[in-house]
C-alpha cells in the first residue's frame, strides 16, 4: 500500500439478506485510486455500483474486506468518526440531488462548512454559487429550482468543503443531455481547480471516457479495470 493512494479497496464483499435468501451484491472487489485521479464506474443496472460507492464513502459497512480512505482505515472508525471524515475530506453528488428541501440554496451549500465550524460559511457558499452560475438564486428553495439548477447547487455544496475525493452517483441521470453536459463541464472544471479525486458512476460511456480510468462491474464482480487512452 502506497501512501499516495487516496482510496484503497481490497477484497470487498457485500451480501444482502432478503426474505428468500442471501444475495451477494459485491464479490472480491479490489482496486486503488491515486490522489487527483478521475475514475468512472460503469456497469449494467443492479451490478452493484451504488453499493460500492456507498461502501467506499463509509456510508455502509462491508461484510468483509478493507477500505482505506484518505489514509484512514475506515473499518476501524465508528459512525461519528466516519461522519467527521466525510465532512472534512469527502464530497457527494447524487442522481436525485438530495438538497435539504427546507433550506435555501445558499444554506444548503453552507451546511458542510458550518458543520466544520467555519466562520465565513455563507460568504464562501455565495462565491461557490456564483461559480456555478446561480448567484441570483441563492435565496430560493430547492422546490423553486429546476433539476439542472438543483444539481448545480448540489455541485457547489459538494465542493464547499474542498474535499479530497468526490463521489458522484449518476450526476446527470435525471437531466437532459444539454443540462447534463453543462453539469459535467462544471464538475471537471471545479475538479481541475481543486485537484480533487473524482469518482463518477455513470451509464454514459461518453462521460466515462472523459475520465482517466474506467472500472466495469457486472454481477458484483470487476469485469474490467482500464486506463482511458486520450
Amino acid at each position: 500500500m502506497e501512501v499516495s493512494k487516496i482510496l484503497n479497496v481490497s477484497q470487498l464483499r457485500k451480501t444482502y439478506n432478503s426474505g428468500s435468501g442471501s444475495l451477494t451484491v459485491l464479490d472480491d472487489i479490489s482496486f486503488s485510486l491515486e490522489a487527483g485521479e478521475t475514475f468512472a464506474i460503469v456497469g449494467p443496472s443492479g451490478s452493484g455500483k451504488t453499493t460500492l460507492l456507498g461502501l467506499c464513502a463509509g456510508l455502509d459497512r462491508p461484510d468483509s474486506g478493507h477500505i482505506e480512505l484518505c489514509g484512514v482505515e475506515i473499518d476501524t472508525l465508528d459512525e461519528d468518526e466516519r461522519a467527521l471524515l466525510r465532512n472534512r475530506k469527502v464530497g457527494f453528488i447524487f442522481q436525485d440531488f438530495q438538497l435539504l428541501p427546507t433550506l435555501t440554496a445558499l444554506e444548503n451549500v453552507a451546511v458542510p462548512l458550518e458543520l466544520q465550524g467555519a466562520k465565513n460559511a455563507s460568504i464562501q457558499a455565495k462565491t461557490l454559487l456564483n461559480k456555478v452560475g446561480l448567484g441570483e438564486r441563492i435565496h430560493h428553495y430547492p422546490s423553486q429550482l429546476s433539476g439542472g439548477e438543483q444539481q448545480r447547487v448540489a455541485l457547489a455544496r459538494a465542493f464547499s468543503n474542498t474535499p479530497e475525493i468526490l463521489f458522484a452517483d449518476e450526476p446527470t441521470g435525471e437531466l437532459d443531455e444539454e443540462t447534463g453536459q453543462r453539469i459535467i463541464e462544471l464538475l471537471f472544471d471545479l475538479n481541475k481547480e481543486a485537484g480533487t479525486t473524482l469518482v463518477i458512476i455513470t451509464h454514459d460511456m461518453d462521460l466515462a471516457r472523459k475520465t482517466q480510468r474506467i472500472l466495469r462491474l457486472k454481477g458484483g464482480k470487476i469485469l474490467m479495470d482500464e486506463k482511458v487512452m486520450v
Partner: protein, 849 residues
Amino acid sequence: MSDFESSKSGISWLFLMAWRDLRSNAGKLFLFMSSIIIGIAALVAIQSFGNNLTESIDLQSRALMGADYVIDSNQPANEEVIRIMDSLGGPDSREINFASMVVFPKSGNSKLVQVVGTEKGFPFYGEFETEPADASSSYLDRGAALVDATVMLQQDLKPGDSLKVGNITLPIAGALKAVPGRSALSSSVAPAVFIPYEQITQTGLVQRGSRVEYKYYFVADQGQDLEALYEAIDPRLDAEGADLDTHLDESRRLGRRYNNFGKFLNIVAFIALLLGCVGIGSAVHVYIRGKLRSIAVLKCMGASRSQTFKIFLIQVAGLGAVGGIIGTLAGISLQMAAPALLEEYLPVKVSVSISYPAIILGLLLGVLMSVFFALLPLLRTWYVSPLSVLRVQPENDAHTGKAQAVVLGLIFLFLVLLALQILGNWQYAFFFILGLGVSFALLYGVARILMWAVKRYFPEKLGFCVRQSMLNLFRPQNQTSVLLLSVGVGAFLISTLFFSRDILLSKVALGNDENSPNIILLDVQTDQVEAIKKTLRENQVPVLSNVPIVTMRVEEINGRAVNEIRNDTTSNIGRWVLNHEFRVTYRDSLIPSESVLSGAWVGNAEDKELVPISVAENFASDARVEVGDRVTFNVQGVMIATEIASIREVDWGRVQLNFSVLFPNGVLEDAPKFHVVSTRTVGDQSSAVLQRQLVSLYPNVSIIDLRQILSLLEGILNKIGLVIRFMALLSILTGIVVLVGAVRTSKYQRIRESVLLRTLGAKNAQLLRISFYEYAFLGILGSLTGILLSLVGSFFLARFVFEEPFVPSTEPFLILLPILTLIVVCIGLLNSRSVLNTPPLEILRSESR
C-alpha cells in the same frame, strides 16, 4: 483523527438548523402544531373548567350545611371547647336547638317542633327560602319566628299570627320553605321553628336535663384544608363531648354519587390529556418520519449522529413549547368563553378563574410529550445508515428496539406520574396507565396481524381499487400502525367516557323515582294506621312504607351503665349515644340504602334473651362497639339485652328513613310504638289539600314535607348529571378533533402515491375509491377494537373505581363506531382532494422531497 475533533460547529448552529428547517413549510407545520394545540387546549379547558365546576358544586354542598364546618355538642361549650373554638378564630354564628311543644294561640293547638335559635350571619352559604321572601332577613331584627311551611299550612297560620314557645310569645314573620343545614334525613326529624338566638333563654326551655343541641358555625379561610382540620380538632372535641362536622361530610352524606362525580371529572380531565397525547404522538411520529431523508443527507454531509438527533429534538421541543403556549392560551379563552356560551344549559353558576396548575401542566405537557414522542422515531435515525439517502434501508431493529423500550418506559412513567397528579391515587394511576398500555399493545398487535394477514391472504381476485387500497396497508412507509393506534386509542378513550358516564348517570337517577316518598307522617298511632291508609288511598296517593318505631335509650354498653360512663372522664364514647332517644325499627331484611360492613345481618330473633341487632357505622364508631359487643336498651322501662350482630353502612343520601339501630323481627312487636307512614304526592295543590285533610283528621300526627329538601337534593344531583354529560361531551369532541388531526397528518405521506397513480392514468374516482376503502377499513377496525377494549376497561373502572354495577350501553357501538369511521373516511378523502384539484407536477415538485 484528533485533528478533526478540534473545531466543531457549536450548539448555536444546531438551533440555527432547527430554525431553518422549520421556517419554510407552514402547511406541514400547521398540521403538526394543530394537534399539539388542540390537545393542550382541550386539556387546559377541561382541567380549569372542571375545577371551576367542582368549586361551584362544592359551594352547593356548603349550602347544605350553611357554613364550612360546625362544632356541635349536647352541652354548652366548656372552657376547653371555648379554647379550641377561639383558636379557630371563634364561631361566626351560634345556634341552639331542641325539640319542644309549641302552642299556636289562634287555634289553641299545640305541636312538637324543633325550636332553633339562630344568630345573624347564618347561613353563610345558601339562603333561607321563606314566604314572604323578606321574612328571612327581617325575623331576627323583629324578634319574630319563622315556621315550617307545612306547619303553617296544617295550622292554617298567616304571617303576623303568633306562636308561644315556652314562656315567650313571638309574632310569625313567615313560612319557612327551605333551610340550609337541615338536609339530612333521619327518623328524628321534626318541623322547624326558627327564633332569634337571644330569645332562647327567655323561653325557659333550656334547663338541666333537657336535650339541647348547641351548634357553632364557622367559615373557613380561603384554601383551608378541612380534612386536616378535622383530623386535628375532632379528637380533642370528642373528649369534651363535642363534635366537628365539615361541609365535606355533608356532601359525603349525599352518597357515593358525589364522590364518584369527582372521580369522573378527574378521569375526564385525564382522558382529555391522553387524547392530547395521542394527537401529539401521532403528529410527531409522522412529522419526524418525513424528516428521515433530511437526516440521512445531513449525515452524508458529515453531521454526526448526535448533531442530527439534536437538531430535530430542539425543533420538536420548540414546537412543543410554542404549541403548549398557544394551546394553553386557546384553552383559557375556551374556558372563559364556555360559561357565557353555555349559560343557559349549565346547571350551576360557574365562576371563571384561571387555574395556574392547568397552565403549567399545559406548557410542560407540550414540551415533554412532543419530545418523548419524537424520541421514538428519532432514535431510529440514530442507527440508520446514511446510505438511506441512496435507497430506502431496512431498519436496524435490535438496537432500536432496546432504545425505544427505554423511551416507552419513560413515557409510561411520565404518564403514571401525571395520572397520579390528576387522579390523586397511585393505584388508579398505575392501573389506568397499565390498562392503556395493554390496549396500546393489543392495538399494535392487531395492526401487525392485519398487515401480515393482508399480505399473506392478498385478495388477488378483487378489483383494482380494493387491491390498491389493500396494498397501501402494508407497503413500506405505510400508515396502518399509526392510524390504527390513534383511531383505536381515541375510540378506546371516548367510549370509556360514554360507558362511565352511563355508570354515573344511572346512579344519579336513583332515589328520584316514583317510589321515593316525599311526604312523611310521624307519630302515627298503631290504631290510626288503617284509617290513615284509607285516607291516602282516597286521595289517590300510595302508601310507600309503614315503619313501626319504638323509642329507647342506651342503658348499658358492654356491662357498664350509662351513668357510670358519663362520669368517667377518660371514656371516649360519644356523649350523644348516651343521651339520645333512639327511634328504632324492626324488620327481617335490609333495604337498598343499607349494606353490611361487618358481621352478619340476622332478620329474626331466635334468642329473645340476647337479641342480635344491627347498628349503623356512626353508632358503632361513636359508641366504640364492634360486632359481638353487648348493648342493653331501656325500652320505656323494659331492659332488652342485645348483641351487635352486624354493622351497616347506611347511604344517608337516599331518600329513605334510615336508622342507627335496627332490630330483627320477633322482639319489639308488642312494645309501645308509633308508626311512620310515607307517601308521594304530585303537585303543590294536591299535596296541600292532603296535608290539610290529614291534619284535621289526625291532629297528633306530624307531617314532614320532604319536597323542599328533595328538590334541593334533586337539584344538586341533576346538576351533577348535567355536568357529567357536558364534560363527557366536551372531551368526546376533543377526541374527535384529535382524531381529525391524526388522520390529517397522514396527508403528506399519501399525496405522492396518489399523484404517481394519477400520472399513470388513474381517474379521480378511482383515487377516491382507493382512499375510501383504505380509510374505511382502518376506521372500522380501529374504532371497533378500541370500543371492545374500552368495554373491558370500563368494566374494571365500574368495578374498582366507581364500585357500581356495569351495564354497558349500546351507544358506543351504534353511534360512536359509525361516526368515528365516517370521520376517518371523510378526512382521508379530504386529504386526497388536494391531489385531485392540483396538477400533479406542482405537487411532485413541492412534496416529493
